[in-house]
Each structure stands twice: as C-alpha cells, then as structure tokens.
C-alpha cells in the first residue's frame, strides 16, 4: 500500500528542491516518468492451462507507457551519428570517390567507403550486394560512402561534400527487357536471369486436351515497401578486446551475426548483437544493412556510432516486395473442375538477390492456389533490374500469386456461371490432397475456412 503521509512529505521535498533547481537552472530533479509501482497483472496471464489464454503482453505495457527503448531511444556517452550517401543514379561505374572535403567538415570524425570494408558483399543466398558500392552502382539507392559526425545534421551536411565521379551505364527497369539476350548485364553474368524454378506435375498437354474451356490472363503487381514505423537503426560499439557490440533492429540475429563476421573477417564470437524490441519488421529487417559499416566507423573513431535510416533511406535502400508478371492459363471442365494449369512468372528481382530465391520458390509452389490441380506446369524466373532491392516481404511471393489465381478463379466462375464459393469448394484441397510438389497435405481446412468466412460475411443472403 502507498503510505500517503510519506508520499506527501516526499512531494514537498521534491517541490522545494525543484524551486531551488529552477532558480539555479540545475537539472537535479529527474524527469517525471511515473508508472504504478503496484503491478497489475491481467487474469489471463495467471491462468493455467496457459494455451488458449488471451494473455496480455508485458512488452505491450511498456510500449503504452512510452518506456520501450527502441534503438533510436538509446544514447551512449560520446556517441556519433552516421549517415549514408546514396548514389542517385541507377546504373554507373564509379570512377572515383573523394571524401577529403567531407572529412574537413565541422564535427566529422570519420568516413568510410566500400573499398575499406574487408569483404564488401553480403546476401542470404547470393552474396551479390555491396555494403557500400565501390565499383558499380546498380540502383539509385545504393550507398556510396558513410560519414560519422558528432550530430546527425553535421553528418548530413558532410554527405553533400562527398564527390563521386560516375561513368553512367544504361539502366534496365523492365524485367522482360532485362531478360533479353542483348540487354546490358547488370552483374556481368551471361544473363540477367539469376534464379529460376520449375514445377511439373502430371501431364499438362493432356490436361488441356481434356478441358472443355481454357482461360488465359496476365496479372501484374507493383513494388511495395514494408514501411515499418521504426526505420532501420543500429548502434555499434567497438571495444579494446576487438569485440563489437551491436544494438540493432535486425530480426534474425544469429544468421545476421554470421553475415557481419564474414564482411568484417572477424571470428563470430567477437560480435554481439542485441536486438531490442523491433518497431515492425514484415520481412524488411531480415538483412544486415549498416551494421558492418558502423562497426568499422566505431573502430576508426573509438566512439559508439549510431545510424538511423531516414524515411527516404528506408524507401530507396531497404528491400521491397517484388513486382511480378504472371501469365496464367487454366483448363477446366464444363462443371468448373480445374484440369490443367500453366503458370509463368517473371519476378522483377531488383538490383540484388536478397531473398529473391526464397520468394521465387514459394511463389512457384503456391501459384496453383489451394486447389487440386493434377496437371501443372510452373516456370518462374527472377531477373536483375536497376531498381531498388527486392527481398522478403510478408508472404514471399504469395500475395502476388494469390491475387492472380483468385482473380483468375472468379473469371472462370463468371464465365461458366458458377457461384464463386461453389467453384472453390469444388476444387479445394482436402485432407490427404497432393500438393503441386507431390506432398501429401495434412491438417487441411480450406473448405472449412471458405464456409466460415462466407457464413460470417452472410455471403448467400448478401444483396447489392
């Protein structure tokens, strides 16, 4: 229980102190940040069995009190602020980078360019992305150089003084154009196609022959950004034992640590990553970004270094959702049963691979929809273009193909005069159905979900 008398006494003392402080303008009274000292625990958190309880979140309480410390809420003594210079051109050879003027700017403590990074490449499947571009720029958001300064504004001002000489190369923005043999090769490979997937099940030709109707349609989707409310952020502190401690908004710290160790050519056990509560991920914070850069800036300066992406950095340099071009061809019986489906996917793979291979794989497997399709042929390609990096984003290609296969399904239903719910129930996976990869599916509830969602909607009674 709170002792009211003591509380009043304390309040009075504080008031007196405050008066003194106000006169002297000394900040010896701490900032007011009150929270109840008697903790209040929601009953659901105390129940057994624990499974199925609507338990509240201890971190949720801190969020609401404004007490969660995200990266940008942490300040360390002597901490510097880093900012990244972006290319601004989509495709170019870098002839030279001159940071000498930037180094003379007020507050600037250190700069870093790509050639100073021990292994200047990373990526979860192909290591084709530089941390800071040093030879070739492949999209306008590529980082070119980093500056660490006493304040963020000083770092931003210094970026303006970095002189980069480019020899511009022709950009390629359209993935279909990039696929052609005479297109400029963005990574000096034989082709800009850097990943492909094929799924073949049954006999596609026979399936089309047996079909009463054949439907074809092209669907396309756009490039989308994750927009986590907290931009990417990290703080690096290099210590006298040659260890670096990173506070980072990274969503996969174990693998991220290995990636950082590789770029810095350091033993893994000299790297510590502490991921605080991440302010939104959605797939966008599954890659290292500036962690090796600020580690090296911290090593150079002996100070902790923080780098927080501006909202613009977030858009132009972090990963995004792949635009897809999808050609669907579906053969159906007159009753509405899908007999054959051919899918061709071209995935705009952006400037670097990132999680594209995973995206392409999942998109291919899922592209036939949650339906029994005995005869299936899927071909999918990922293509480099000189656009923002495309990577993991909530669904790994599934939102794109779902838009296509479900739109296609309603086209078919409308043409055949079948109710959209009925055509789905007719084709839906059941327990034991064989997936496009020949996997026997278990705990399948496609029909249940169709019935439940439409009943809740009032589908059958619904009128325009």
């Amino acid at each position: 229980m709170v002792d009211e008398t003591k509380l009043a006494e304390k309040q009075e003392t504080v008031e007196t102190l405050r008066k003194v402080d106000d006169d002297l303008r000394l900040p010896s009274v701490p900032e007011r940040n009150f929270f109840p000292k008697e903790i209040d625990i929601a009953p659901a958190r105390l129940q057994t069995p624990a499974i199925g309880q609507r338990a509240t979140r201890p971190d949720g309480r801190l969020h609401g009190l404004g007490q969660t410390k995200y990266i940008d809420d942490m300040f360390f003594p002597g901490m510097l602020h880093a900012k990244i210079k972006r290319a601004g051109v989509a495709h170019a050879k870098i002839k030279s980078i001159d940071v000498s003027e930037a180094q003379k700017m007020p507050g600037v403590q250190a700069t870093l360019i790509g050639s100073e990074i021990p292994v200047n490449s990373f990526g979860p499947s192909l290591q084709d992305q530089p941390l800071l571009a040093d030879q070739v720029v492949r999209h306008a958001g590529d980082g070119i150089a980093a500056v660490a300064a006493v304040t963020e504004q000083q770092a931003l001002d210094a970026l303006e003084k970095i002189k980069v000489v480019y020899e511009e190369l022709p950009p390629v923005f359209d993935p279909i154009e990039a696929m052609s043999e005479d297109a400029i090769k963005i990574h000096n490979n034989d082709s800009n196609i850097y990943a492909s997937k094929t799924i073949i099940k049954g006999d596609i030709e026979q399936g089309f022959k047996d079909s009463d109707y054949i439907f074809e349609r092209r669907f396309t989707t756009q490039m989308v950004e994750h927009v986590p409310m907290e931009p990417h952020a990290s703080i690096a502190e290099w210590d006298a034992n040659g260890r670096v401690t990173l506070h980072s908004s990274l969503g996969r710290i174990t693998l991220g640590r290995a990636d950082i160790a590789r770029t810095l050519e350091m033993p893994i056990n000299r790297i510590r990553i502490i991921a605080t509560v991440v302010g939104g991920n959605f797939g966008g914070k599954n890659e290292i970004t500036t962690e090796p850069i600020i580690s090296l800036l911290s090593k150079k300066t002996g100070h902790p270094v923080k780098c927080v992406f501006t909202r613009e950095d977030e858009f132009i340099s972090s990963t995004t959702r792949h635009p897809f071009i999808m050609d669907y061809k579906t053969g159906v019986s007159k009753e509405g049963k899908i007999l054959a489906r051919k899918v061709r996917i071209v995935c705009d793979g952006g400037a670097y691979c990132s999680w594209t291979e995973t995206t392409l794989g999942k998109a291919s497997i899922l592209s036939a929809g949650p339906y029994n399709v005995e005869n299936l042929h899927v071909d999918a390609y990922a293509v480099y273009t000189t656009k923002t990096v495309t990577g993991a984003m909530r669904g790994f290609g599934a939102p794109q193909v779902c838009f296509a296969y479900e739109s296609h399904m309603d086209d078919i239903a409308a043409e055949l005069g079948i109710e959209p719910l009925e055509i789905r129930l007719m084709n839906a996976f059941n327990e034991g159905s064989s997936s496009p990869t020949g996997q026997v599916l278990e705990s399948v509830v496609v029909s249940d979900s169709l019935i439940m969602a439409t009943e809740r909607f009032g589908w059958k009674e619904w009128q325009k």
Partner: protein, 166 residues
Amino acid sequence: MTDITLNVNGEVKTASVPPETTLLKMLREDLNFTGAKIGCDVGDCGACTVLVDGLAVNACLMLAAQANGKEVLTIEGLSTLDKYHPIQKAFEDVAALQCGFCGPGMIMATKALIDQEQELTRDQIKDALSGNLCRCTGYTKIIDGVIDAYEKITGRKVPARNPRAA
C-alpha cells in the same frame, strides 16, 4: 542558441538549443523524453504526437522555440505512481499495440480526442486517429482500446457497429 523554457508533464524545463531544433528533438535529446518517436520527421506519421496546451501536435513540425512558455504533455506524463492512465490500461488489455512504435503518438492523439468531451462515434474515432499511422494492427484493436478507454473515462457509450452474422 535559443533559450527555451517550457512546462513538460508538470515540470518547468529549460534548454539552450540551436534555433532550428524541433520540439521533438529537444524533448528527446535535451530533456530525455524519448517516448515521442521519430517515424518520418516531416509530419506524416504521427509517431511524435504530444499535447501542447492540450492540443495534439506533431512535435517534429513544431520548433522548440514555438513551444516556449507552453505546457507540453508527453506519454511519460500520463500515468502516476498509483495508476495507469485509462487509455494505457485499455491499450494493454486489448493488445492494441504490436510493435508499439506508433503507440505513444496514438495514445496522445486519443487523449486529445477524449479530452474534448464530445459524444463519439466509431467514425469520429477513425477520423481523429487518421493522422497517426500504424503498420501492424490495422487500427482495429487500437479503436477497441480507444472505445474502452473513452467509455471508462466519460461513462458515455460509443454506438456499437451493426453485427454481421451470428
């Protein structure tokens, strides 16, 4: 440098800051109130919402000098040693926040709304929160939290939406 004196959460605070300093930067870096967040720094996202003389403002769009002599309430000033503010309690109970980054701004915008002591509908609530972006929740549980808090604070009822099917 500009000398700024303002009242934050009931305490008089002073700081000497460069003239271009925003209220948000001053709160976060000079006064250590990190509850208001930098989501965009140009007034689009509302993560920095604080109350200035009772009105919700984007602290990133207000210069510290413009807040000179004013009363500022931040998320840190809502609860007391004895109890959570009902909005904070409601948000926790219904799991209104996920990553939480929009939370302090969302809660301050909610406080400004409830303080107006009007009859509220769901649409008015949606309208009042439209300047605060959230990427995690679809706003659904946030609106539940606002309604819960509003009903507890004011004793009024927000008309329920029409139920769909049983």
